[in-house]
Amino acid sequence: MRPPFVARALIAAATPPLDYASVAGDLCEEYNARVESAGRPSADRWYWAQVARSIPALLSYSRAHRSFAAKSSRIAIVLIVLFAMLFCKDMIDRVIDLVDPRGPGLPAWLYFAIDWTDAALFGGILAAIVRSAGMRLALVASVALVAAFALPVILGISPPLQTLAWFLLLGAVPAMAVGAAVYQVLRRRESGSI
């Protein structure tokens, strides 16, 4: 008997790669024992509760221990991906200016869709480059990005942002995480481990 697919996909997205087999296997082992003793609905509920409570802890560590040089190269990769993401957004904004030269004539949802797709795409790219901690690094990168834009505003160095701009900015965090998660799930599905 296999646990619910979405819950398994969440575990696949959040677990450090070197621990994925043991964490997913431990959950599967207990899930099957509960299906036998208490029935499938109860086992499903237990599995979902375990997944929800496990994700913060699973995102907090990576089994791969790296040297200072490897850690520095990761920081460089994060910065390069963030700059590429911002460059891509700038290019899109220029295209929008060409299409809509007089100002925001396009619907707001289109701006959200474009910006968050950009963030999700680069979250996925980051996860593909740094496979051992893709999801964790995508979260760190997006929080760093939000902080880089929000701090000058909060400190009064930059002009205040409109509410929509705050939504666009804060949405980058879950968007990058979703992009990284989708990449990890697709990779593990391809290898048949989900």
Binding site: D19, A21, A24, D26
Partner: protein
């Protein structure tokens, strides 16, 4: 004990469980042991994160076993306590006993 080698509450519980289960304990077994003995139901993620931290401190070592069908074809990660882990447990116990010595525990402070 040097700073960074002290055991947190959950680390202590996990390490004692590994000791109780003997060599070859794995995540699901450790989680169930904690649930049975303490009545507290930890998340499997918290157990694995704690085991990884204990391994980094050198208190336990781990190795990968064979995949089995009841685990969806996934391998177990087995854990065993090391001499430094046993020593840390002993030290924590001694410290707690010293702190408790001569105290009368009441359910409510007066």
């Amino acid at each position: 004990m040097a700073k960074g080698e002290y055991l947190g509450e959950f680390e202590h519980i996990v390490l004692v469980s590994v000791l109780r289960l003997g060599d070859g304990a794995h995540g699901a077994l450790i989680r169930r042991e904690i649930e049975t003995v303490t009545g507290r139901s930890p998340a499997i993620g918290a157990v694995h994160a704690t085991l990884e931290r204990l391994e980094r401190k050198g208190f336990v070592t781990s190795w990968i076993g064979e995949p089995t069908a009841e685990r969806g074809g996934k391998a177990k990660r087995h854990f065993k306590i090391e001499a430094t882990g046993a020593s840390a447990l002993k030290q924590t116990r001694t410290t707690l006993e010293r702190l408790h010595a001569g105290l009368a525990l009441r359910s409510r402070p007066t």
